[in-house]
Symmetry: C2
Subunit: 447 residues, 2 copies
C-alpha cells in the first residue's frame, strides 16, 4: 500500500458539495482507501483571469495499491465526472484534484511530476495538508509538510481566512485546540440562508471573541412533519461568501448523517419555558432546538454564543438549558434586525409574494402599537392585545397562532404590564408562518 497526499480545490458552483462529492467518488474506487481529509480552506485564486471566485481547498490522505499513473487517471476521471473542463488552464473549475505525494517516489514524466512541483511554496496546498498530514515527508526537500508550512511567508492580509468543517470530530478538535491556545471562541448557530440579522450576530461574536465559528445546519428534529423542512431555503455558496465577507473564521456545515447518525437516540427535554406559545403551536420544536444546540455547544465548546432576539422564546429556552445543564458558555441575545419598513428579517421572508410582503408589515406595526399604548400609560393586556389583533386583522391576517403579552423570563401570559414584559406575535401570512416580538416596559432593557 502506498500512502498518498492529494490536494482538492473548487471555485465554481457549490464548492463544498464539489469537494465532498469528489471524496465520495474516490471512496468508491477499488483499492483506494480515504484515510482522512482536511477542512476546506478558502483561498484566493492563483493566476488566471481577473475576478475569479475564491477557492475552497482541502487535502486528503489515501492508501492505495494503484500505481501513480493509474491513480492520476482516476483523479482525472473524477474531475471529468464533476464537469471539469481542462481547456482553460487557469479558469474557474468545479474541481481540481492534484496528486501531491505518492509515498517517497520522485517521478518526472510529461504526464506526472512527483512530488507536485509547486506544492512546497503554496499556502493553499500546505495549510490543509498540515492539518491532517504534518508528519509526511517531501522526498526531494527532506522536510515534513509541517516544516514546509512553517517556512512559508505569512499570509497577506487580503487572504481570506474562512475554513469550512463538515465533520463534527474535526470541528471539535479544532475548537479544543483554539481553547488550548487561550483563544476566546464565539459561536453563531444558524440554519443558513443568511441575512443581515445573522451577520449582526457574527459581528456581535467578533466583538466578544477572537475567533468566530458560524454553524449552518437545517435541523430536521425541530421541524414537525407538516412543516417546511424540505422547502426551507438553502444556499450554502451564498452563505459561505457572506460569512467570509463578515470576517467569520470558521463555518461548521455538517450533513444530516453527521449530526444524527444511525442509532442516535438521546434528546434534550427542554425546560418549562419551552411549553407556552411556540411549545403549544409547534409541539416537539423546542426538543429539536434543545438537542441540536446542546450538540453544537459540545462540538464547538465556545466561550460565548450569540442568538437573535427575533426568536425570543428560543433564546430564553437556550439560556435556561445552559443554566440547568451547567454548560460553560455565555449566551448573548442580540437585537432584532429589521427591513427599513420595520419587517423583522427572516429567512422565511423570501417565501412571501409582493402582496404578502406588504401584509407582513402588520406584525411590526401591531408590536409598535403595543409599545405606544404602554408608553401612553395603558397596562391592561386585554386592551393592548385587542389593539394588536385589530391591526393584524385589518391587514387581512386571520390565522394568528398568538398575539400576547408575556413575562420576559417564564413567557407566561401576563394580565397587566407591570415592569418588564414582552409582546409576541406568531401568525400566518399566506402559507408562511412569521414571528416577531418587542420588549415592553418602563425603561430600555435588553433581552
Amino acid at each position: 500500500m502506498a500512502i498518498c497526499l492529494l490536494g482538492l480545490g473548487s471555485n465554481l458552483g457549490d464548492r463544498t458539495a464539489n469537494i465532498l462529492e469528489a471524496l465520495r467518488l474516490l471512496r468508491r474506487q477499488a483499492q483506494v482507501i480515504v484515510l482522512r481529509h482536511s477542512s476546506l480552506h478558502e483561498t484566493l485564486p492563483v493566476g488566471g483571469p481577473e475576478g475569479q471566485a475564491n477557492f475552497l481547498n482541502a487535502a486528503a490522505v489515501i492508501a492505495t495499491q494503484r500505481w501513480p499513473a493509474e491513480l492520476l487517471a482516476i483523479l482525472q476521471d473524477i474531475e471529468a465526472q464533476l464537469g471539469r473542463k481542462r481547456t482553460d488552464r487557469w479558469g474557474p473549475r468545479t474541481i481540481d484534484l492534484d496528486l501531491l505525494l505518492y509515498d517517497q517516489q520522485v517521478i518526472h514524466t510529461p504526464e506526472l511530476t512527483l512530488p507536485h512541483p509547486r506544492m512546497h511554496e503554496r499556502r493553499f496546498v500546505l495549510a490543509p495538508a498540515a492539518e491532517i498530514a504534518g508528519d509526511l515527508r517531501h522526498p526531494a526537500l527532506q522536510s515534513t509538510i509541517d516544516e514546509l508550512f512553517t517556512r512559508l511567508p505569512p499570509p497577506s492580509p487580503s487572504e481570506p481566512k474562512l475554513r469550512v468543517f463538515t465533520s463534527a470530530e474535526g470541528m471539535q478538535r479544532e475548537t479544543l485546540r483554539l481553547r488550548r491556545l487561550s483563544r476566546r471562541v464565539g459561536v453563531v448557530p444558524t440554519m443558513g440562508s443568511l441575512h443581515e440579522g445573522h451577520l449582526s450576530l457574527v459581528q456581535a461574536a467578533r466583538e466578544r471573541a477572537e475567533v468566530v465559528v458560524a454553524t449552518i445546519f437545517v435541523n430536521p428534529t425541530q421541524f414537525a412533519p407538516s412543516e417546511d423542512f424540505s422547502k426551507y431555503p438553502r444556499n450554502l455558496e451564498a452563505d459561505l461568501q457572506a460569512l467570509s465577507a463578515a470576517g467569520c473564521d470558521y463555518a461548521f456545515v455538517p450533513s444530516r448523517e453527521e449530526m444524527y447518525p444511525e442509532g442516535s437516540s438521546t434528546f434534550v427535554e427542554p425546560p418549562a419555558v419551552s411549553q407556552p406559545l411556540e411549545g403549544v403551536c409547534r409541539p416537539g420544536h423546542f426538543r429539536g432546538v434543545a438537542t441540536i444546540v446542546l450538540k453544537l455547544f459540545q462540538i464547538i465548546p465556545a466561550h460565548v454564543a450569540c442568538f437573535g432576539q427575533k426568536d425570543y422564546q428560543q433564546a430564553q429556552v437556550i439560556r435556561r438549558i445552559v443554566a440547568d445543564l451547567n454548560v460553560p458558555i455565555e449566551i448573548v441575545v442580540c437585537p432584532i434586525i429589521r427591513e427599513p419598513d420595520g419587517l423583522a428579517m427572516s429567512s422565511r421572508n423570501r417565501y412571501l409574494s409582493p402582496a404578502e410582503r406588504r401584509q407582513a408589515l402588520a406584525l411590526s406595526q401591531a408590536l409598535g402599537e403595543a409599545e405606544r399604548l404602554v408608553a401612553a400609560g395603558e397596562n391592561e393586556s386585554e386592551t393592548i392585545v385587542a389593539a394588536m389583533r385589530n391591526i393584524l386583522r385589518r391587514a387581512g391576517i386571520t390565522r394568528i397562532d398568538y398575539a400576547t403579552l408575556a413575562d420576559p423570563e417564564t413567557l407566561a401570559e401576563v394580565p397587566r404590564v407591570e415592569g418588564r414584559a414582552v409582546a409576541l406575535i406568531a401568525c400566518f401570512v399566506g402559507t408562511t408562518r412569521l414571528i416577531d416580538n418587542r420588549l415592553l416596559g418602563p425603561e430600555n432593557w435588553r433581552a
Copy 2:
C-alpha cells in the same frame, strides 16, 4: 464597608459541613456580606498532639460595617455554636475562624493582631486565600496575597493535595483552568459511600490523566419515590479520607440545591439502550442518570471519565449519550471489583444482614454458572437463564427483576449466545435490590 479576609479550618467531625455551616451562620449576621469563599484545601495539622486528623481549610472574603473587635466576637460566637472548645490550643477543632485582613488596618492588641501574624508563612492560609483574593494587599508587607503565596517554599511531598469544591461554578472554573494549562483531567462520578470498586476507578483515572476529580452526589432524580434515596448511605468524611489516600486531587461535593436550583427543569431524555432491564424496573432512573452525568461533564469538562462495569447498562447508556450529544470525553468502563467470595462490591451491600449477605452470593454464582455453561458449549439462552434462576431460587431469592442474556450494546435479550453477550441479574435480597453482570463470549473482551 470594610473588605475582610477570613480563614476557616476544621479537623474534627464532618469538616466540610462544619465549614459550610460556619459560612451559613456568617451570612445570617447583620451587616456582614459573604462575597465569596474558596474551595476546601486538605492540609496537615500544624503543631498540637501527634496523630491529629488533617484539616480542611478555606478562605472567605466578606464586606462588613462591623468594627474589627465586633467581627472577632462574631467569629468566636460562631466557633462556640459549632462546638469549638478553646481550652486546648493546638487540639483538634470542629471549626477555627481567623480574621486575617481587615481592609488595610494594622492592629496590635492582646485580643487581636491584624494582619494575622503568621498568615504570610502559612500555605494552608495563603493557598485558599490566593484562590479568591489574590489581589488583596497585606498592609505591613506591602505585597499581594498572590505574591506572598508565590514566595512560599514548595509544598512537602507528604502534604495532602485534595481540594473539595462545593460550588459548581468554582469546580468548573478550576477545571477550565487546568485545561488551559494543558493538564489532562479525569473524572470519577460517584454517589459516595465509597468502596474498593470506586477507588479502582480513581486508580484507573490516575493512570489516564494527570489530575483526577471524584464527584460525590446522591442524585435525587435517579431515585423513584419508592426507592432508597433518603436512606442511601452517606459518609462524606470517610469518603474524603479514602479519596485523599487514593491520591485524588479534587472532590466535587455539591448540595442538592447546587445541582437542582429552584426552577431547574431541563432533563436529558436517555437513549434507546436505557429502555430494557433497569428501564423497565426503574422508570425514570436513567433520565435522572443521564441528566446528572451530562451536568457533571459540563461542570467538570474532563478528558476521560471512569465508570464501573457493575452498572453495565448505565455504562452503555452513558457511552451512547456521549456519542449522541457529541460530548468531548472518553468513557472508560472498568472491571467489577468483588469481595473475596465473589459478591460484587456495592454501597448497598451494607444494608444486608449476615444471612442476606450469604444469600447475596447467589448472584455471582449464577453468573459464574452462565459463564461455565457457555464455555462448555451451551448457547441456548433459555437453558442458561433457567440455570441462573435456579441458583437464585435455591438461595431463597424469589423477587427477581431480571436474570437474562443480552446484546452487549443494545441490551436487547438474545435467544442464543453467539459471539459476545452479557449475563445480567437484578434481584432483591431481603429488601435490598442488588445487580451484577458478567461478560460472556468466545474470547476475553472488555466492556
